[in-house]
């Protein structure tokens, strides 16, 4: 599995150059103190979007091994999506006000073109502290592989 590099991102056809998201989110990298499962050495990410990417955004590792992920607001996928953060997760995110937290889920494009979202383990970012974490809520009814669009 090859991580999606910025170069590949910029080479892909019909996609505008990636422009930063809202300045308050992208000015600095978001710190992920534990990395992401499988990418434990990636401790710092920037969130990028582009007009052509539509509802997708790109979570790209900086200052570490190369890795980038397509992410989407889970409520774009499932309007009633809701997960409960554990006390420990809230502490790790330094979250005082849960309303300001940014929730994203990782999107996978499978070989046959099926687009899925991992609703089981959302990425939660606290923009006030610029800390992020992929959480695995203990009581969570959502699947790791939620199909958004079937492949052709």
């Amino acid at each position: 599995m090859t991580p999606l590099s910025t170069a590949q991102f910029e080479r892909s056809q019909s996609v505008d150059p990636i422009t930063p998201l809202a300045p308050e989110v992208s000015r600095d990298a978001v710190r992920f103190p534990n990395g992401l499962p499988g990418f434990e050495a990636c401790r710092s990410f920037v969130l990028m979007h582009s007009e052509a990417l539509g509802p997708l955004q790109c979570l790209k590792a900086v200052d570490g091994p190369e890795a980038s992920f397509l992410v989407i607001d889970p409520r774009r996928v499932l309007p009633e999506y809701r997960c409960e953060l554990s006390e420990a997760d809230r502490h790790r995110l330094g979250a005082i006000n849960e309303a300001t937290l940014l929730w994203l889920v990782l999107v996978t494009i499978e070989l046959d073109g099926t687009i899925t979202a991992n609703l089981r383990a959302p990425v939660v970012i606290n923009p006030d502290r610029m800390i992020g974490q992929q959480v695995v809520p203990y009581h969570c009814v959502y699947p790791i592989r939620h199909v958004i669009a079937e492949g052709e």
């Binding site: 090859t2 892909s12 790790r92 996978t108 991992n118 089981r120």
Partner: protein, 76 residues
């Protein structure tokens, strides 16, 4: 690997901040209580492995991002 025999209500300490207590021993499983500092993530390994595998799949490059985005606009 360190191997311990523990009975119900007995605990294992790891370092000075992590403890694992045997709460209940049933026919189908052992119920454990874990106390750890808030910065230590505790996971069930099989779930963590599934998430790791899903993340590795998610990190592979799509062929045409523009087309993916177009399809998503219809679905999300």
């Amino acid at each position: 690997m360190l191997v311990f025999t523990r009975r119900r209500r007995e605990t294992i300490m790891i370092g000075d901040g992590i403890s694992i207590e045997v709460l209940r021993i049933g026919r189908d499983g052992v119920r454990l209580g874990v106390v750890a500092p808030p910065d230590v993530a505790v996971h069930r390994k099989e779930i963590y492995d599934q998430i790791r595998e899903a993340n590795q799949k998610a990190a592979s490059a799509p062929r045409d991002l523009g087309a993916v985005a177009e399809r998503l606009k219809k679905h999300a």
